[in-house]
């Protein structure tokens, strides 16, 4: 193990251990228990977005299959833990293995056929999610349309109360997933995937075992999505095909990763944090009164509009996502974050900590994005030589010397 790997392992372990005791501190510090579940949901999205990104973000193969892998995970818990009485802890690894098996068998067929590259691959994975849903729908052993209630599942009580348990389970899976994503990025596998992303044929002719690398990454991606789905089944508590296999999971992981940046393991984490905190707080906003109450704008449907808008803006204008820009301008972002929080405290003193965080986060994002756009523009006008499209896009492959 190289020194860098040791350091990474150490820091992940330290973060994990520190967070592990967060639920214990809930009583003494006295923060609302909701924060544990809020934290769990955030960790859930970390795991989902990171697991999607460790294949799609690195290799460039656009997969809509996340819903299927997540769904396999959820239904493994449903069938094994709820219907057959397995303890949840035993069902979780099986869920990961089944999802990985689905990913690997799909990959085995699809990656063999060169003509299924590109957008056709995206559609095959979309179709697989539909097929998995259709099978679950006709099989009464799985669901058969009745749904599965999970209130009798045997939960791991040694992990504490329900919110503590969810938080800790989510933490373990998120840390494993993100650690895997970070490790892959800096490993041979990561180099292979990034070269596949740029030019698969050339990668193969320079010795990259492209088939094997795609299989490994897709399998792992599916594995972690399945693990995370298995835990999330408990949070859903009553699973139905329409909910589990909806477009929500693939949509959110795509938006989160695109927003944060797909070429670095931190990208999905940044994206998930922004999207989850923002949508959570927007939930409350029902009506926006402007001009002293003369104009009322209903915000009921704003969540989706913001998600859609973010996706469009990021894809068109900020192709590399926020992470590279954050690295570039961390002090400006940190400053804006603080200013955002201060403004929130003055404007709405009773605002909850999450609300303040969102305010700070929006400040940071607002500073990062347009300022970078202006800088891009300035650079492209000022420089004598042709500058590349994205001046900030320092190569991140295997990155960081």
């Amino acid at each position: 193990m190289s020194r860098r790997t040791t350091v990474r392992l150490g820091s992940f372990a330290a973060v994990a251990v520190a967070l592990w005791f967060l639920p214990t501190l809930q009583g003494p510090i006295g923060f609302p228990i909701f924060y544990l579940l809020f934290g769990y949901t955030l960790l859930f999205w970390f795991a989902q977005a990171s697991s999607w990104n460790m294949f799609t973000g690195y290799s460039g193969y656009f997969s809509f299959g996340q819903g299927a892998f997540f769904g396999v995970g959820v239904y493994t818990t449903g069938v094994l833990a709820a219907k057959r009485g397995w303890p949840l802890i035993a069902a979780i690894p099986v869920a990961g293995i089944l999802a990985a098996a689905l990913g690997l068998s799909l990959g085995f067929v699809v990656f063999r056929l060169r003509r299924l590259q590109g957008e056709i691959f995206a559609l095959v994975t979309l179709a697989v999610a539909f097929v998995v849903a259709a099978i679950a729908r006709v099989s009464s052993k799985i669901d058969g349309g009745s749904g599965i209630a999970l209130n009798d599942v045997q939960l791991p009580d040694f992990l504490g109360t329900f919110p503590s348990m969810m938080f800790r389970l989510g933490l373990v899976i998120a840390v494993l997933t993100v650690f895997a994503a970070a490790t892959i990025q800096h490993s041979r596998l990561g180099w292979g995937l990034f070269s596949i992303n740029d030019d698969e044929a050339v990668a193969e002719s320079l010795g990259v075992p492209t088939f094997r690398h795609k299989m490994m990454a897709f399998g792992m991606s599916a594995f972690f999505a399945g693990l995370s789905g298995a835990v999330h089944a408990i949070q859903i508590s009553y699973i139905t095909i329409e909910d589990v296999f909806s477009i929500r999971i693939p949509l959110f992981v795509i938006v989160m990763s695109v927003l944060g940046g797909m070429r670095h393991w931190m990208g999905p984490i940044v994206g998930a944090t922004i999207i989850h905190t923002l949508t959570d707080r927007l939930n409350r906003a029902s009506d926006l009164e402007l001009f002293g109450g003369n104009v009322t704008v209903s915000l009921d449907h704003l969540n989706d509009i913001i998600i859609g808008l973010l996706l469009i803006v990021m894809v068109l204008a900020v192709k590399d996502g926020l992470w590279p820009r954050l690295v570039d301008r961390k002090w400006a972002a940190a400053g804006a974050f603080v200013v955002g929080i201060l403004i929130a405290r003055i404007w709405a003193p009773e605002m909850s900590p999450i609300g303040q965080f969102v305010a700070g986060e929006l400040g940071a994002v607002a500073v990062l994005l347009p300022s970078s756009a202006v800088i891009d523009r300035w650079r492209s006008r000022g420089g004598p030589s042709e500058t590349p499209d994205e001046p900030t896009s320092q190569p991140t492959v295997g990155a960081t010397p």
Binding site: P32, I33, F34, Y35, L37, F38, T41, K83, R137, S140, G144, G145, S146, G147, A149, N151, F162, P163, H232, I236, S237, Y238, T240, I241, D243, S246, R248, L278, D280, R281, L282, N283, R284, A285, S286, D287, L288, L299, D300, L302, N303, D304, I306, L309, L310, V313, L316, A317, W347, A348, E350, M351, V358, L362, A366, L369, P370, A373, R377, S380
Partner: protein, 420 residues
Amino acid sequence: MTRSSQSQFLRGLILLVAFAMIAAACGSSTSDTTAAASPGTTAAPSTPDTTAAPGTPDTTMATTAPSGEPIVIGSTLALTGFLAATAAIHKVAGDLFVEQLNANGGLLGRPVEWVVLDDESVPDQAAALYERLITEDEVDAIVGPYGTGTITAAMQVAERYGYVMPQHTGSLTYTYGYDCQFPAWPAGRNPNVTNSELVFDALESTGTPPKTMAFVINQFPGTMYVAYGQPDTDEGGAVSIAADRGYDVVLDIQYPSTTSDWGPIAAAVRDADPDFLFLGALGVDGPNLIAAMDALDYQVPGMFLQWPAPGPMLGVGDSADGAMSVTAFEPHTPFTDDPGYAAIAQAFSDAATAAGLPYTAFETQASASWAAWQILVAGIEGAGSLDQAADCDYLLNNTIDTVFGPIDFDPDQNNYYGDL
């Protein structure tokens, strides 16, 4: 060169606009905590002729304006997502109830504020939001969401914190073991038995019961439960009850909720040509199938529609003749014999029209919603406090008056009553 800098500028502009929007939205989301539904805005008495919300035990409070810190009641509703159509009814009903409650003296003499979050029709979201309502927003009481999945998820949270949870229409009766959950609609503990027996009894009471029967069932948990009984136990279920009763089941098919082409299903029904069609339907399935059968020049002599969601027979016209359904409340006699309820039905209809709902009658969904609020209020007023355990005790040990009549809750029946 100019072109590219122009487009760069354009991109910058788009971004600024986008984030200005988000910032604006967020500002409101946070300031909303104070602005939402203060009694001043919701208490405007739009229906001054309504005397009191029936079921609010102490009607003498009517003339006293509520005062003091507002009591905050939290809930989620499927404001967006696939259940949003029906949840909109619950929103209108709840708003109206709170408005009337405040106009009639509030709760325990204090004004009531209702915080509604959007669970997007997604159970995990509902669970997280109830967690938030109870532990972060520290609401004084909760009301259930709409939709079986979200209700089931929310109930686990309520149980964890011992909150009383009146709920409108949860259909998986057998899974609800929590003593302080109070279903409002009279579905009964075993709709997988009682629902179809009610239908078959009604058919047999006509003197000319059908001989052949077709079952077309939406693959939705509630409809599946009624049609095929409890999963993994096969207890009850309309199909087997029909067979037991000697009906000839000539067709028994299930369709996915996403069905868009009703032609083949209509063809299958026409081919089976049953005397009676039992449609385990949701939403617009009924009208869609009826229209498709119509297009084949075919009508069933009689049919049963399980859960007509809002506007069920909307726009089908004469073809809906011969269709029957179960209902807990309809805006006509005998349900409206009580003048108070007649006024509510009218007020609801007005509010629903104002909110732009296409189907404005005060029927099952709206009345169940109303009853859930009545149960909550009865518990709090009866126990005279916001203590959840006391409220729960009161509800379990007293007869509660609702729009559906007096109810006694029995935990052995999972608090379900009635026989729909």
